[in-house]
Symmetry: C2
Subunit: 293 residues, 2 copies
């Protein structure tokens, strides 16, 4: 397998699946839909929907019921970026190589655009009801999506993160933030892929564990890239953690040890994903360790 070619091909497939659900830019709320699409079409790794699709297939899923959930997950992730970039939060001017939403559409519409994407994620996921006879898998997948995005997931992690900026943090608190702010949606993506393919509750829990390891590794890698990367590579400013006096795995462990921690977590995730049809997934996890953005 030529991994790079295969990654490009599958990412394109993911994008096409996701983009078919974007709102039309028409009528009175056209500008809101425009702001939504401005964000959704910005270049990105599409890591969460890609993982969802790969896990779905690893467990033998063959239909398209995973598509609306892939779109929903990417929408929830994008919603969180828009609000995270707001002046009241991180006050960032660039994201994914483009000006942030509030810079282009103003702050009021950026708030509403984030709201609209979060709500539209659920509207999109609800389309799965008509793709399944008894709606049981859809119901289970929705419950996972809701929990991983909310107070007991991503938004909980976000809230603790913003309330403790510029403060020294305990390792315990930092792990809570990484587990929720970053890992929760990755866990949810992998769990939903499993659930929709008909995997057992035990397999779904294993995916949660793998997502947790991968999510932590991913966030630690982000910490490292903020120190070692360039603005051109990342599409956003570097050294922002130092500027914001953030506690990260780099400040706690130094770059070398943080790298080792991320590598160990990646190995753990790879072990949990061992099975049939896992070749691409194993290579994807290795690739995430050497990514430059």
């Amino acid at each position: 397998m030529n991994f790079k070619e295969e990654l490009e091909r599958r990412t394109k497939e993911v994008q096409e699946a996701v983009f078919q659900y974007l709102p039309r830019e028409e009528g009175f709320p056209a500008r809101l839909a425009q702001a939504v699409n401005y964000n959704m079409t910005a270049p990105g790794k599409r890591l969460r929907p890609l993982l969802m699709m790969e896990i779905y297939r690893m467990y033998g899923g063959e239909g398209e019921i995973v598509y609306p959930f892939m779109a929903a997950m990417e929408m929830i992730h994008t919603h969180s970026l828009i609000h995270d970039d707001l002046p009241a939060l991180d006050n960032d001017d660039y994201r994914r190589g483009r000006k942030t939403t509030h810079k282009v559409y103003g702050e009021a519409l950026a708030v509403l655009c984030g709201d609209a994407l979060l709500n539209y994620a659920y509207e999109t996921a609800f389309l799965a009801f008509s793709m399944e006879e008894d709606t049981k898998k859809t119901a289970r997948a929705l419950q996972i999506l809701g929990r991983k995005a909310g107070i007991h997931g991503m938004l909980g992690g976000q809230s603790v993160d913003v309330m403790n900026e510029k403060k020294e943090m305990s390792r315990q608190m930092l792990d809570y933030i990484y587990e929720n702010k970053t890992a929760a949606l990755i866990e949810g993506s992998m769990m939903i892929g499993a659930v929709l393919a008909g995997a057992s509750e035990r397999e779904t829990e294993k995916m949660e564990e793998a997502g947790s390891c991968l999510g932590l590794a991913f966030q630690i890698q982000d910490d490292i890239l903020d120190v070692t990367g360039t603005k051109e590579e990342l599409g956003k400013p570097v050294h922002s953690d130092e500027k914001n006096k953030k506690t990260t795995y780099v400040t706690l462990q130094g770059v070398d040890q943080a790298q080792k921690t991320a590598e160990k977590l990646t190995q753990d995730a790879k072990r949990l994903l061992t099975g049939e049809k896992d070749e691409f997934l194993q290579m994807l996890l290795d690739y995430l360790m050497i990514r430059k953005k």
Copy 2:
């Protein structure tokens, strides 16, 4: 029937049904849950969940499957108030007689608190899956909830409202805003009550129409109260429309004609709600016309 006593009793019933779903204030994200509950427990009319419950019963609904949806609707409504009050939008200091969220918890947490409430609304509604055998009514109710809250409902209306502040607006645009910003959630409440009680598609459409009339009447009444009410009665500043140079039914028609328009719309809604067990609903609609807050 002593209407005032009955209204008080039923509003209390609604509050108890809604409050049982509020998040616990514990662990790392305790402060986010606190901000959510600060908003949810502020005094309010609970009009949307009350209407949902009444319509559910009018169509013969007797179980508790309506409760998580009542809570979800009130959460979505409250989410919209929190974000609407933000400095980047209406910049209001008071709401429901209390300091607004960003005044108490800061702007960053107010953004996340609104997000958390929107997401928690869906998490709460998903609890209905375990209260129904085949999940079909829940699925239909969720689709209505999603649509009425989103780009093609409330958030669409909000976006056009904030983009056209301090501009003169056409009647067509104003009607679009009222229909979506205000009426959409009222329509959704009444439709979901009907759907969960097993009403037909035709009855559900009738509820949408009734909700549209009632929602418009309600918003016009709000325009009038902004001119004729007091801060003490309303729990929020008055004359804010004039201050913000807003186009409203009062600026378009004057207070007297606006009052007549609202009354006619209320009569239309009452006619659509005629049926069995409608006594309380009819009195509620009359009451909304003479409300002081």
